[in-house]
Symmetry: C2
DNA sequence: GTCTATAAGAAGATAGAC
DNA sequence: GTCTATCTTCTTATAGAC
């Protein structure tokens, strides 16, 4: 019922599907259920709507920087300090991360919008890299370092291990963003990847 | 001097930077050094220019499907049948693939255009997946299978190994597409990745 | 806050001279 | 094949009634 918020939702959906330049204010208005001129009572321009989405994105990112890394990992956080992580737990963590990326509505639309707009805006480029490279690698590195210290994992470079753990998840996610029908296939490969990762690195 | 060809070049450059919808025929014409109406003596519409680029892309892909996989690997193809692959050769192969993706002008512009347009066109989505997932994984899998048969590598699932070898290269490439200044950093991580990959999987 | 009417300008495309 | 002039349509945005 909050029109101002609904405009952002509709605009984000359209921007994530077509990109900013291919979306017309009339389409946004139509999705909201009003006429185009009425939009201008809420936002002063089309660019202003885009900026508001960016602002929401920044806020989410700052408030929940680690949220996406934690997804499905809470059990791990709790348990990791006192026992070895099982292979099944590692699988659950990887699948959880993958599924969150792929199915969380907000995450998914943001990512697609960033994907389309990343080359036209340096701030978006940086935001993208933070969310899908810097932060996940940082988090996973910390986790793997812990597992190494516990003696669960071989004493190899944890940041490289994090890259080798995370990059396949990311690559399979991009495939499913383009071709959603490949999710089952992707999940099977993903599980094999994690089990093999564990087999190779476990001490 | 071939105007028709130059139009495609300029258009591809602009499409790869801004996306189809944010490029105007006047900009293409300006890049070519003519006025917008003159474009229509060569192509019947803006969409027609885009289609011509796609056609060129399809032709390149069909004719040189394995080219990108082979880059820097010829030495390997020659030698792989009779001796073990050295870690340095593996590093050279990974860096070669990464550098080709990142610096080949045509490859780079195509990839960026595909990145921007992938969600608005199923054919582009499929082309992207073929070029940056299906084909590289297929090629690397074959290579790793060979190394396993030779007894150079552990007898693990070669397709999973291919994913674990290739995905970090791909992820680092996407980071550098967005933030070219991170290439040195990426190359350092990449080398560590490959050496660690080799250490874990070598027999 | 939403509407209709409309301004103002941009963008794709055509006509016709050279 | 390139140009200028022009058409048409689309798109953003504003004005002003309700």
């Amino acid at each position: 019922m909050d029109t101002k918020k609904k405009i952002l939702d509709v605009a984000l959906t359209l921007f994530s599907e077509k990109g900013y330049g291919n979306v017309y204010v009339g389409q946004i208005a139509e999705g909201v259920g009003i006429k185009a001129p009425s939009l201008y009572k809420h936002y002063k321009s089309k660019k202003d709507i885009f900026e508001a989405i960016l602002e929401e994105m920044r806020n989410r990112y700052n408030k929940e920087a680690s949220r996406l890394n934690m997804t499905g990992n809470d059990f791990l956080i709790d348990s990791k300090l006192y026992n070895n992580i099982s292979e099944d737990e590692l699988v659950k963590m990887g699948i959880g991360l993958f599924s969150f990326f792929l199915h969380d509505e907000y995450e998914c639309k943001f990512r697609k919008m960033l994907t389309i707009e990343q080359f036209s805006n340096e701030e978006l480029a940086e935001l993208f890299s933070n969310q899908y490279f810097n932060e996940p690698i940082k988090y996973q590195t910390g986790l793997l370092q812990l597992l190494i210290m516990q003696g669960c994992m071989k004493n190899e470079d944890a940041s490289v291990m994090a890259l080798q753990f995370f990059a396949p998840i990311y690559l399979l996610m991009t495939v499913c963003d383009r071709e959603p029908q490949r999710e089952v296939e992707a999940l099977q490969i993903l599980e094999k990847h994690i089990r093999q990762f564990n087999r190779m690195y476990k001490e």
